[in-house]
Every structure is written in C-alpha cells, then in structure tokens.
C-alpha cells in the first residue's frame, strides 16, 4: 500500500504558477478556483486522495509555499 501523505499550501506564498500541478506524479493537485489568496491568485491544493507525501511539489515550488507531511506506517527505530 502506498504511503499516505498530505500537503499544506501557504496562501501567503502561493502564486498559482501551476508548476507543482504539472510535476505531481499522482496528479492529485489543481488550482482551487473557489478561493483567492491575499495577492489575488488561486492557490494550489489537492483535490482528491492519493498524495503519497513524495514532496516533488515542494521541490519544484519556486516560493517554498508547500509543507509536506507523511503518515508514519511503522515504528521508526530510535536514532542512535
């Protein structure tokens, strides 16, 4: 089962350039046409399930607007 992840897009930084949308391997991102950011752009969001938390959207984002989380499926051994 693929990893489950989710993203948060900051309205302060997102400029709706769509680079994350074309880069998303799962094709689960689009612009949210029902909302506007304070700058007047439609921000990106995930419109359906399927995000794996791969962080490629964050990698191509020119404005560092995306924070990526991933669900932990098994216990991570303590470091050290």
């Amino acid at each position: 089962m693929p990893a489950k992840g989710w993203i948060e897009v900051s309205d302060l930084y997102c400029k709706g350039c769509e680079l994350c949308i074309s880069a998303c391997p799962q094709e689960v991102m689009e612009l949210d046409m029902s909302r506007l950011t304070p700058k007047g752009y439609h921000p990106a969001h995930t419109f359906k399930d399927g995000c794996t938390g791969c962080a490629i959207c964050a990698l191509v984002c020119p404005d560092a607007a995306i924070t990526v989380y991933r669900e932990v499926t098994k216990a991570v051994p303590a470091a050290g």
Binding site: K4, G5, S10, L12, Y13, K15, G16, C17, E18, L19, S22, A23, K39, Y41, G53, A55, I56, A58, L59, V60, C61, P62, D63, A64, A65, I66, T67, V68, Y69, R70, E71, V72, T73, V76
Partner: protein, 256 residues
C-alpha cells in the same frame, strides 16, 4: 485516532517570512530555496554573507535570513572579494543573473576567477535581462526574440551567445565550475548537490566556485511557467550543455 505523522518538507529556516516579488513560476525562487537549504544543511547560515546583484534578484537580501550587501551592477564578485578578504572565516556568495554577470560584470567575474578568490558564485542564466523588461543579454540564444531584438537575435550584427561556464573553467584559479538546470525535479536535485559542492569548495578553501543554473523567465519569454520549463529543456540545454566543466582533484575527494 489520528495516525502519527512526520514532516517530509517545510520551508527552510534560512528564509525570512517575506514573500518573494518574483513573477509566478520564476525559477529564481527555486534557486533561492536551494541556496537556503544548502546553507541550513551545512549549518553556516549565521556566518554567511551574501552579495546581491542588480537584476531581478536585487531584493535577495529581503529573502535570506543571512547578512547581505548590495553591489553595483555587475560588481558583486569585486565586493565579495573585499568581504571575503576582510572576513575570511565567513561564507561569502554572490547571486547574479546573466545581465549582471555576463554583460556589465564580465570583467569582475573573470578576474575574480583568475585570482582564485575563495568565493561562491550562483549564476542564473535565463537568456535575457529580466528586471528591465526582457532585453537581449549576452546569453540570448540566436534567433530568440527579445524586446531589443524583436526580429530574433541576428548573430551577424549582434554576435553569438557567451557560454560562461566553459569560459570560466579555463582559468587556473577556479576550483569548481559546473552548469545545471532547474527544469525538472531530477535536475533540481542535481543543482542542489552542485550548490552544496560549491559551498564545500569555499569552506575548504579550494578556490573559486561557480554554479550556472539554467533558469526561466516566463513573463519576458511570453510563456506559461510550464511551457518555459519545456523551452529550457528543448532550446536552452542544447545551446548550454549541462555538465561539470571543472572539478579540481581536491574537490573530487570531498564526500558530502
């Protein structure tokens, strides 16, 4: 019960909270982010001094949470030379566009490299003068339309594009000189590694280091951000081949 979560990626702490003034989709932002991430990973943010150019990146000092100085047009390598010589324990980098570095600043960059100044140069090549409205730069491709070459760059009268990385790599003072692109996730990762190596070169005192990044200018190219990335892949990379133009023997031994 909510599943435990882990943070995969967040905005680097080396960035301030100021939103950038760049056009949507401009890869200047990606280059800024890579530099910020590298400084954070190396733990040198609080002893870094950046030198901002004249060009679109003129406000870079607002975005990095490091010390910054602003240089006159093209003179960033000269100013970085002074800063580094006075404060040799600091990490000094310049962030310059092609209009700044390859045009008016050609003398400064060549002589800083020839002297082997121990600084790092991040060179953004987007084939035009972005800030002033997309005029022809020394790096504009033959036939490419800009606001000052409306019929396309005519090499008969306007000359040929300058390949900076190839030129700089011929100088003996240079330790590390590579060209990377920012058009897809793989190349962004490679670019980040190159920026890391360039800063490692400086920290180890191994000479002048420069990373040329092929970048986009969606507004002045008159394209969508996604099409701009395709333009980089299809037209800029054939004219400006990606690769390592100079990696000195000492840097090849460095493991990151």
């Amino acid at each position: 019960m909510a599943a435990p979560e882990s943070l995969v990626y967040e905005r680097p702490e080396s960035f301030t909270e100021t939103p950038t003034h760049y056009c949507p989709g401009c890869t200047h932002g990606v280059a800024h982010r890579l530099v910020a991430e590298v400084l954070e990973e190396m733990g040198v943010t609080n002893r870094t001094i950046g030198v901002a150019p004249v060009g679109c990146a003129v406000f870079a000092y607002n975005y990095f949470d490091t010390d910054f100085v602003e240089a006159p047009h093209g003179r960033a390598p000269a100013m970085a030379t002074g800063v580094k010589r006075v404060l040799p324990d600091r990490v000094v980098f310049t962030y310059q566009g092609d209009g700044d570095l390859a045009s008016i600043g050609m003398g400064e960059i060549v002589h800083a490299a020839a002297r082997g100044e121990n600084i790092t140069v991040i060179f953004i090549n987007n084939a035009n003068f972005g800030m002033t409205g997309g005029q022809m730069a020394p790096t504009t491709l033959p036939g490419m339309k800009t606001t000052s070459s409306p019929n396309g760059r005519d090499v008969e009268s306007q000359g040929y594009p300058i390949r900076m990385s190839e030129m700089i790599s011929t100088l003996d003072g240079v330790g590390y000189c590579v060209r990377r692109s920012l058009h897809d996730p793989k190349n962004i990762r490679l670019a980040k590694k190159a920026i890391r190596t360039a800063f490692e070169t400086q920290v180890r005192g191994l000479g002048f280091s420069m990373v040329e990044l092929l970048s986009t200018c969606p507004t002045n190219w008159g394209m969508t951000p996604v099409n701009s990335l395709k333009f980089v892949e299809e037209h800029m990379i054939p004219a400006y081949p990606l690769g390592d133009y100079k990696v000195s023997e000492a840097i090849k031994q460095v493991k990151i």
